[in-house]
Symmetry: C2
Subunit: 240 residues, 2 copies
């Protein structure tokens, strides 16, 4: 079983996704929102690329059954029901609802890896359950940080590194690391005693703090508040 | 002054190279060979992409004045004078000669960044002088690891991280790090007491050990055996 991590969210090389499970990670904040929303009873999540597509998709559902969520430049989109803070996605708002989500980095990542064998939604919030799922699948794994506007993202990589650490810790089968996954693991080890520090040092974390959204950083760096493992399949994310 | 590092050797985004100095790093082994060869008296180095182009380029020089060097699958190319081990490039062979070099990763990297404002050849062998040069230029910097067959390379990134550390250590001007350069710096700090360990753990380092070329690892992880800073300009690398 090989674990690789792609540091930059460009389209994976052809062939790399066949027979691989993929874990998409966008700690700040798309995959944290997804995991949180499903844990609070949301029915399913439809990630879409554009704001226009979000409004269009909403029209195909009965009124009152779907909510629009997401951000542009980290802020709530005019006409949307919810922004991109997991703290907004509480049971009272999302229980039993379908969510249509569009974000700058995270929702795009799912479309880039849509040909993977299984596409898992990873975050700190469900990291131990995600590791368990990956270990159980027993196939090669590509961790796919959503990045920061196309660039390397420190917080997503540290989350990937923690996932690697948990999988290695299970210790019952040989795991092959690439240079990239080894580096991610080393980066995690530097922050493991203080995960939120990785988020605070990151470019995107600093932007959120500047926008008054700093409370999302400790929120998104909580580990294992749920054991849900959402799966992306045919354009929709549902709890496994 | 911003320091960024591009973890994967794909063509940089348009515009990113204008007004930036670039440091190309291929610890194992192209930039180590270049720095070593020039320190041993080689006249200049012409990096070319293909074996055919190397033979073709050689024809344009008087017999006996140019040497062919490089590798494919880490081995010397049939008909070439030298392989890709810096230990081969000693004064007795290269002094006063022009070198035509083709390697799997390193020589290609120069062509990818050829529109940079200044293109510096970096390695552990000349790292302090390279840091001094970068600091003196006082412009934004892109570190460009040559990677391992298009993938992230641990040893090049650790070398980039050491360069960042040395530049930060000069401490007289504000330096902005990106998430990627911050990660490279953290990775360097993990290996700084034992640089050769980063080379031994790396995918490419392991390949070289398997091929009986393991002695190149400690050789290429020596720091500051020369103060030369080679510059790539108009297709040719010369000592600054």
């Amino acid at each position: 079983m090989e674990i690789d991590i792609q540091f930059v969210p460009s389209p994976p090389s052809p062939g790399i996704l066949s027979n691989r499970a993929v874990v998409v990670i966008d700690v700040l904040r798309a995959t944290s929102v997804m995991v949180h929303a499903l844990s609070q009873g949301a029915l399913e999540i439809i990630p879409v690329a554009t704001v226009e597509e979000a409004f269009q998709t909403a029209k195909s559902f009965a009124p009152g059954t779907a909510l629009l969520g997401g951000e542009r430049e980290s802020k709530r989109i005019p006409g949307f029901d919810l922004g991109n803070s997991p703290r907004e996605y509480v049971s009272g708002k999302v229980n039993g609802k379908r969510l249509i989500l569009t974000t700058t980095n995270g929702t795009k990542a799912f479309h880039l890896v849509s040909s993977g064998e299984e596409i898992i939604v990873g975050s700190f919030l469900n990291i131990r359950a995600t590791a368990q799922r990956c270990f159980g699948l027993d196939r090669d794994l590509l961790l796919f940080p959503s990045g920061d506007k196309g660039n390397f993202s420190l917080e997503d990589t540290v989350c990937g590194g923690m996932l690697i650490d948990l999988i290695l810790g299970k210790g019952r089968k040989p795991i092959v690391l690439t240079d990239a996954s080894r580096a991610a693991h080393i980066l995690y080890e530097q922050f493991k005693a203080n995960l939120v520090e990785a988020l605070r040092l990151s470019n995107h974390g600093k932007d959120l703090i500047d926008l008054g959204l700093g409370d999302d950083l400790p929120y998104c760096s909580q580990t294992d508040i749920t054991s849900l493992v959402p799966i992306y399949k045919e354009g929709v994310i549902r709890a496994h």
